[in-house]
């Protein structure tokens, strides 16, 4: 495929003013185009082809967009599964991303100032990012263990009873309210405690990476702004809210976009922490896990591929909306 594309474009270029540069550019791009074409784009096209068929272990009848409509509204089992997984996925984003950004921003700001031990802090914060979820999961099983977990000991100090964490399907608000003897309606239950734990582990994993990006963003803010502000007698809080935050907004926006896409397509974190089930009671089954279950536990490759493309479309739309709505408000210096 890649080989087909290149000569076509090259042939089209002689009328342009820079044919030599165009050819040279395509030569530079050739290795990447071949590899991405063969191992990313071609499989994606093939997966799209599969998504148009009933593909129950083996290829079956052509269904057009039947697999897509099954997920969206047409099938009494698939469609509720999909909407539930989508809502879980966005809940996961909503719980994870703001927390991740806020923590990373504050810590980066603190670390950016001259202080003793800065390198050590930064190194410690970065450790989780280099650790695979597979290795981390084994440890978190113990940290959030319902009987023996350290976290239960810690909250015990504050008089909160032991929780089941990754095994708890009940919602966060539901649990909090029941602590005061209040019963909340289903729609107010909030994300399951299990999903909250997965979010916390996700924040733990990416925190160091986002801190580094914020540190980089901070270093790109010119000193002159700070000096001017200080001459005007601004205090540290004013400097942070009036100078740092606005000037950092391109970085914040970048982190927000990358982190959201990351969580929307994340798979490993939920998979390893729930042993692949998306439990308890499917409260952590994100769309990617549903894709995996459909394709690799039910052997419905057509439906699985269709769902994956629905998710891709949603991610694209989500990113576009982010650029439209938030991108405009970003302050570029």
């Amino acid at each position: 495929m890649a080989a087909e594309v290149i000569p076509a474009s090259v042939r089209a270029s002689p009328r342009r003013r820079l044919p030599v540069e165009s050819i040279q550019a395509w030569l530079f791009l050739l290795p990447a185009v071949i590899v991405l074409g063969v191992f990313q784009i071609f499989p994606a096209i093939a997966a799209f082809y599969m998504s148009l068929f009933k593909w129950d272990v083996v290829q079956g009848a052509f269904r057009g967009f039947g697999n897509y409509t099954d997920w969206l509204y047409d099938n009494s089992i698939r469609s509720p599964d999909f909407w539930r997984a989508l809502s879980t996925t966005f809940t996961y984003v909503i719980v994870t991303v703001p927390l991740e950004i806020a923590l990373a921003l504050v810590l980066a700001y603190l670390l950016f100032q001259k202080m003793r031990g800065r390198g050590i802090y930064r190194t410690v914060y970065y450790l989780p990012y280099v650790t695979s979820f597979v290795a981390a999961a084994a440890v978190f099983f113990w940290v959030f263990h319902p009987q023996y977990g350290l976290v239960n000991d810690v909250i015990g100090i504050f008089g909160i009873g032991p929780q089941k964490w990754l095994d708890e399907p009940r919602g966060l608000f539901e649990l909090a309210a029941s602590g005061f003897g209040v019963t909340l309606p289903e729609w107010l239950a909030g994300p399951s405690l299990a999903l909250v734990v997965i979010s916390l582990v996700t924040v733990w994993h990416y925190l160091g990476y986002q801190i580094v990006i914020f540190l980089a963003g901070l270093s790109n803010i010119s000193q002159e702004f700070y000096e001017a502000a200080r001459l005007d007698g601004a205090n540290e809080r004013q400097i942070f809210t009036k100078i740092t935050l606005p000037l950092l907004s391109p970085t914040t926006f970048f982190v927000f976009t990358v982190a959201s896409i990351g969580v929307l397509r994340s798979f490993d974190s939920v998979y390893v922490l729930t042993n692949g089930f998306g439990g308890p009671l499917d409260t952590t089954r994100t769309v990617t896990l549903l894709v995996f279950k459909t394709a690799f536990q039910q052997a419905q490759f057509g439906l699985g591929a269709a769902l994956a493309f629905i998710l891709t479309t949603i991610i694209l739309l989500f990113t576009l909306i982010q650029f439209r709505v938030l991108g405009r408000r970003v302050h570029y210096d």
Partner: protein, 298 residues
């Protein structure tokens, strides 16, 4: 464009702040550091405990008795040496090749004019949005030996090889994007000067751009190396024999095998995680500088 100040220097401390502020700051940083580091502490200490102590509740803070033999025991239960050689070879090969393809492609996107640039860049970025689970089966089929599936068509037949773990990963849209951002930040005057001297693109890239881009190269290299070191699902399905399997697959198998021998699992986890942690300790200075000038200019 504002000139980046070296991160290591940082913001001069606001001198009027009372000491109290600094103490609070350190307390916050230390508490977060303890929370972040606790799982690692738990992993390493558990790896030195005996069977029963490793599962004692509440966990002992420090092993009652050090059992370094857990490491030799865990090591002897699987062909770890082979796994490490495989992972190191694959990770290094992927990293070197990927950095090369990323530099070339990123340079073309950042510094050259050609037809189809916009579309190609969009297509590249789009590959970042497709979840990997969708393309797993077609990718797997592509690697199959030409027995039945690939009748009449060229088929790779790459199961149980190194290349099956290397070649699909030697180009990444994300790395290209990062390198492109970095190359964009190199002043145009340098390119003009090079052109005056009669230097072509390749020479400009090689002798001017790359030497300026060492932090970015290291950043992209480290992120790639990390991804390769932690790769699990793909190597698991495309290899059947231990001869070609990487450490993460070994660790996952060891996890089932160790069962109740939690101390051994922790020992194995420690020696799988340790090399990459050490690598990052050495290289993290560059990482910060590299990222500082790549993807964050909006």
């Amino acid at each position: 464009m504002t000139e980046a100040i070296p991160i290591e220097r940082g913001l001069p401390r606001v001198t009027m702040r009372p000491r109290i502020g600094s103490i609070v700051k350190h307390i916050v940083l230390i508490v977060v550091a303890l929370i972040v580091a606790y799982p690692f502490y738990f992993m390493v200490t558990s790896s030195f405990k005996d069977t029963l102590e490793a599962i004692r509740t509440p966990p002992t803070i420090f092993p009652n008795e050090l059992h370094p033999e857990n490491y030799t025991d865990a090591w002897s239960r699987a062909p770890w040496g082979r796994y490490f050689i495989n992972t190191i070879f694959v990770s290094i090969a992927v990293t070197i090749l990927e950095v090369i393809t990323a530099c070339l492609a990123a340079y073309a996107f950042a510094r050259m004019k050609f037809r189809g640039k916009g579309i190609l860049f969009t297509v590249f970025l789009a590959t970042l949005m497709i979840p990997g689970e969708a393309t797993l089966i077609p990718k797997y089929v592509l690697m199959s030996p030409s027995r039945v599936a690939c009748a009449g068509l060229p088929c790779l037949g790459w199961f149980d090889t190194y290349q099956v773990q290397i070649v699909p990963f030697i180009a990444s849209a994300f790395s290209i994007f990062l390198m492109r951002q970095f190359f964009l930040s190199i002043p145009n005057e340098l390119a003009d000067a090079a052109r005056m001297d009669g230097a072509g693109h390749l020479r400009f890239l090689w002798s001017i751009v790359l030497p300026l881009s060492v932090p970015a190269l290291i950043t992209v290299g480290l992120i790639t190396f990390l991804g390769s070191w932690n790769a699990f699902q793909w190597p698991l399905i495309v290899t059947s024999k231990p001869d070609f399997r990487p450490v993460q697959v070994g660790l996952s198998q060891f996890r089932q095998e160790a069962g109740a021998s939690y101390h051994l699992l922790m020992a194995a986890s420690t020696f799988v995680v340790a090399p990459i942690v050490l690598l990052f300790l050495v290289a993290q200075r560059y990482l910060v500088q590299g990222i500082a000038r790549t993807g964050i200019r909006g």
